[in-house]
């Protein structure tokens, strides 16, 4: 088991061959080892592209990605990538076989890694089910378990909250914050990031417009509106009531003498 690795993107540039503009135009971010970091941005802001570069699925046209203390290359810690649509990665007839793929490929102890990943994600009861027959939320958890089973230092998760219910989000948030890994996820769901991320970056037109503590960055309504991000409900609520500081949670808000 690892405790995660530092992730850095330094002035990263990338253009798709058929694109009419750079998807990333000098994006930089820094994630400490073990953190849950959310990359937020509107549709087309470059979130998925940045995540794919961090996962090593594409090489930047300019700038560099660092995983751990070294530039990405042989010997650097592994980054596991889970796509936005979990179905896009499934191929096996059972969850167990699906989750066994990466540890098998990496020559790891398959039984131990599969058991650990299913346990960490809390889906041991789905072991014998067919991945494509599961609900969207269950498929998301299988997708993350299959990445985790490969023993990566960093999990790169593309829009993991899409189509999740509140209960599913809570399960996902609890799983991610308990993992002894670095998690970098892309999302346009500022409510999720506000509640579960240790740090956030706001991506706008291919570069990072702001980064830092979610309680500070996601309280900036002007910034969020400009980036096409729907503000967290708790931030809007606090803003309408003229509160100086956004409560950290719904429990904290419920304790306030404010309607």
């Amino acid at each position: 088991m690892t405790d995660g690795a530092r992730v850095a993107a330094i002035d990263v540039r990338y253009a798709y061959p058929d694109g009419d503009r750079e998807a990333l135009a000098g994006a930089s971010l820094e994630v400490a080892a073990g953190e849950v970091h959310a990359i937020l941005g509107g549709n087309g802001a470059g979130k998925t592209t940045l995540l794919r570069l961090i996962a090593g699925l594409r090489d930047p046209d300019g700038g560099r990605i660092e995983i751990g203390e070294h530039a990405e290359g042989s010997g650097t810690p592994v980054v596991g990538y889970a796509p936005e649509n979990p179905k896009n990665g499934f191929f096996a007839e059972s969850v167990e076989k699906e989750v066994a793929f990466f540890p098998s490929n990496r020559g790891l102890d398959v039984d131990a890694r599969v058991a650990a990943a299913l346990d960490a994600i809390g889906i041991g009861h789905l072991r014998d089910r067919m991945p494509l027959s599961l609900s969207g939320g269950e498929q998301r958890m299988v997708s993350i378990a299959s990445v985790l089973a490969g023993d990566p230092a960093v999990l790169a998760l593309d829009e993991p909250t899409t189509h999740l219910h509140r209960h599913g989000e809570r399960e996902l948030g609890a799983v991610l914050t308990d993992l002894d890994r670095t998690v970098v996820l892309s999302t346009h769901d500022a409510d999720f990031a506000f509640e579960y991320a240790d740090s956030v970056s706001v991506l706008r037109e291919g570069s990072v417009a702001a980064a830092g503590d979610p309680r500070d960055v996601l309280a900036d309504l002007e910034l969020l509106a400009g980036a096409g991000i729907r503000a967290p409900g708790i931030v809007e609520w606090a803003d309408r009531r003229g509160l100086d500081r956004v409560p950290a949670s719904i429990d904290a808000a419920a304790d306030l003498e404010v309607d």
Partner: protein, 250 residues
């Protein structure tokens, strides 16, 4: 007279597993109905069953009846599956061509609806270059141009950012103001709860509850449906009934 009415609607797999059981549902003119429930409870399946697309599935058996009084449009949860042509304008024209609309009327209608959705800039793009949000907008546009009497949307908001959610909500509001009935299967009601006239709650393929949004808010929260923050907060504080706000503005 309902524009859409399902009676004793059931859907089963080939091995007899019940996915929807004995659902009765009427959607009236000028009404917005929200289909809600936890994961795998059948809300998306019900949305599709209402439009009739499940009748063509070989591996499913559909029993009961669905009466439709007018044109019904469906936007799928993964709308990329309903974009069938490479160019957006040609894709949007597909439904109109099938209905025999002449070329000039088609062009006018597409331009008008694209302007309403603020999607004019997408018309000359290729569908495989669109972002997820743009893909949803184009799918909605492809249905809107057919002027449906009922628009059924299957989890339309999930992949959309704040800006695009606003566009879709504007389109829904515009349809509602013109008397079009709207049915939305969605687990994220942060922006929709206050727009619903009725909520139908599903559990394990059956209708477990139905009523106005305010009275159903506690049950929705219980099942994990996302609600406006003021609604969540009021319920957390123990509010019930008319005390429960149902929009972010309350």
């Amino acid at each position: 007279m309902p524009v859409l009415e399902a009676e004793s609607l059931s859907v089963r797999t080939a091995d007899g597993t019940g996915l929807l059981e004995d659902v009765d549902l009427a959607v009236h003119e000028d009404e917005t109905v929200l289909l809600c429930g936890g994961p795998g409870t059948g809300k998306s399946l019900l949305a599709k069953a209402l439009t009739g697309v499940l009748h063509r599935r070989e591996n499913l058996t559909v029993d009961g009846s669905v009466e439709r009084d007018g044109e019904v449009g469906l936007v799928f949860q993964h709308p990329e599956v309903q974009l069938v042509r490479r160019n957006v304008r040609r894709d949007v024209a597909f439904g109109l061509e099938n209905r025999g609309v002449d070329r000039e009327a088609m062009r006018t209608r597409i331009e008008r609806h694209a302007a309403r959705l603020d999607a004019t800039g997408l018309l000359d793009r290729n569908v495989d270059e669109l972002s997820r949000g743009e893909t949803t907008l184009v799918a909605i546009l492809g249905v809107l141009v057919t002027d449906p009497d009922v628009l059924v949307l299957d989890e339309p908001l999930g992949p959309l950012d704040g800006y695009n959610v606003g566009l879709v909500l504007d389109a829904i509001d515009d349809l509602r103001s013109r008397g079009t009935s709207v049915v939305v299967a969605e687990h994220d009601l942060r922006d929709l709860l206050g727009r619903g006239d009725r909520v139908v709650l599903l559990d394990d393929g059956r209708v477990s509850d139905r009523g106005d949004p305010r009275s159903l808010a506690p049950a929705l929260r219980e099942t994990g449906v996302k609600l406006p923050f003021p609604t969540e907060l009021a319920l957390e504080r123990g509010a019930r009934g008319t005390e429960v706000p149902i929009t972010t503005d309350d």
